[in-house]
């Protein structure tokens, strides 16, 4: 589904990604861990087309198409979704309205008919139930005045409604209390399917207890320095990143 080859990117003349190679097949869940500032959010931004990041080398194929040539909204249309580390607020625009505009933009991109208000409402209600999403949040302005946890939950809710092919979750677990984390993990697991892939960026093992990954990658200084199975996360939890970094230094 997704193939990243030798990806280099910089921001404000600073090299951040320095040769990323990663293949994600449909049905798989990949966790990406790594120290602060190692480039995890940058990778998510490059994959979704944020224009602050400049790709200097490498290629990214999504279902055979050259992703880097597409505009952000086209990538969304192709089925790439990012649950933001810091979701933004859009005052005065209700969550429901925003989401309907989003769903219909994506449908339009795919040549599907738009959902009318009634059909949309039905869809939203069903998804809200699965995610235990309070309905009053849907009527409020996008993320405005939401608590940190509510914002994260809202991201996953949007993801559930949009049903993307590739879900990228950037630290969705940070700021969630234990119950919210369970609810979010449940929502994410409900979306796991053989046609869908996920990249889960996180610092903590506890999320991966709930969303069990097929692969764990360690990103450090813009490169994937180690890849393993779900056991790698436990190892990191116990010993931190230093042994890996030290190992690299001796290579």
């Amino acid at each position: 589904m997704l193939t990243i080859r030798n990806l280099h990117a910089k921001v404000a003349d600073k090299d951040i990604l320095r040769g990323i190679n990663l293949t994600v097949k449909s049905g798989e869940v990949h966790a990406i861990m790594g120290p602060n500032g190692s480039g995890k959010s940058t990778l998510a931004g490059v994959l979704t087309g944020k224009d602050a990041f400049e790709v200097t080398e490498g290629e990214v194929l999504f279902e055979g198409k050259n992703l880097l040539d597409m505009k952000p909204e086209e990538r969304a249309g192709e089925g790439i979704f990012l649950a933001f580390q810091y979701p933004v607020e859009i005052p005065g625009v209700t969550n429901n309205y925003f989401l309907r505009a989003s769903v219909n933009s994506v449908r339009k991109y795919r040549g599907e008919p738009e959902l009318d208000a009634a059909a949309f409402l039905k869809l939203v209600k069903a998804k809200a139930k699965v995610l235990h999403m309070p309905e009053d949040l849907l009527k409020r302005a996008v993320n405005e005045g939401f608590s940190g946890g509510e914002k994260k939950r809202n991201e996953i809710f949007q993801m559930a409604v949009l049903e993307p092919k590739l879900c990228i979750l950037d630290e969705t677990d940070s700021g969630l209390d234990i119950d919210a984390m369970k609810a979010v993990a449940e929502g994410v697991n409900a979306l796991r399917s053989k046609d869908r892939a996920m990249i889960v960026i996180t610092h903590y093992q506890r999320l991966l207890d709930h969303i069990v990954p097929d692969f764990v990658h360690v990103l450090s200084e813009g490169r994937i320095v180690k890849t393993g199975g779900k056991g790698l996360a436990l190892e990191l939890e116990a010993h931190g990143y230093d042994p890996i970094k030290a190992g690299m230094a001796t290579v």
Binding site: D51, P72, V88, I90, V106
Partner: protein, 483 residues
Amino acid sequence: MTTATQTIEQFANKEYEWGFVSDIEAEAIPKGLSEDVVRLISTKKKEPQWLLDWRLKAYRYWTTMEEPRWWPNVTFPPVDYQNMIYYSAPKPKKQLKSLDEVDPEMLKTFEKLGISLDEQKRLTGVAVDAVFDSVSVATTFRGKLAEMGVIFCSFSEAVQNHPELVKKYLGSVVPYNDNYFATLNSAVFSDGSFAYIPKGVRCPMELSTYFRINAKETGQFERTLIVCEEGAYVSYLEGCTAPIRDENQLHAAVVELVSVGEGSQIKYSTVQNWYPGDKDGKGGIYNFVTKRGACRGRNSKISWTQVETGSAITWKYPSCILIGDDSVGEFYSVALTNHKQQADTGTKMIHVGKNTSSTIVSKGISAGRGQNTYRGQVKVLKGAENARNYSQCDSLLLGDKCGAHTFPYIEVKNTSSTVEHEASTSKIGEDQIFYCKQRGLSAEDAVSMIVNGFCKEVFKELPMEFAVEAKKLLGVSLEGSVG
């Protein structure tokens, strides 16, 4: 330049769609302003002596005044008042008895503007008065309104048919010597709208006036007077457009609202879209208008809602004088400036009576090199015990070459009153736009949605069809069908 900034620029660079000129024969008097011109206008309109005297008093006073430069942040070269035509009327073939006799070219113009007088008459619940250049050309629905005792007609007709009402209220809220432009208007006003709602009547339809400047080198000086008696209610809408011209044209209107009796209510909504000038600031309307309402009755209410997107320069402070105890004043405003437009707008709320309250919600949007100023005054007099005011002024910047300024003036002369003021300035962020794009929205839809969300509190005050027009004007897709 990032794509987000490009979109913002595109958004700001939308063409003015209403800039066509209609080919209609007009009867105009020669350029220039003098006592003779004032007399000529009055004669053409077959006015009574008292009105001519009032005009002359205003004219003479005006000659002693100086063109103001109220605020250092608004700049323009002096207006040449002698190089302007003060009266231009579409030439009627004969006396008009019904819409069928209106020049078809003119009906076409209104059609193009989306105001089909004919259709309006038949289908909708909106009574329309259309002012073309200086003269009112058609008032629809008059018969139906008359049955309820509601008078809705052109100002000139009111002078002929209801002189006692005009005489009683003309200048009672905005006196002839109020300010430079209001005084000029008092001397040369050519037409406008008049509405009178008698005791206990809730006007069953929106009253609406559509102003159109068509002729070259003319100024538009219309006057609107609305009077509401005890327990009466009216909602009044006003829309304006003008052709694209290289010269600046002056629009100096006066609107007077009088909520006379106990519990009377006037709701006045404006969508102002005069030609704003081109992107280099050439041409455009100088929109220098005086709008003021007096809440005289106990528990009466006046509410101003405005969406200001046009004009090269806007100077406008729709105000409320809250005289009756428990009376209420409201001001809801969206002002958008782009290119080199300058807007200095706001309100004055003067609290005189006890327990009076006022609400101010102002949303300024600046794009391009536009300069947008909110200037508002809240004055609570000594006798206005327990007066309350709440003001909220928000500014939104699109791009980084524009400006937003806020000047609240607050004066409270007693200790039992509360005045609250909140202000904010924000910029449409790249992050907001990227967030929307990541959810599949085009950059343009993203900007529209963000701007629309910003204006929501004001749009919800507008009557339905006006809200739609206002959103369209801001290049905004429809919101609110869900949620």
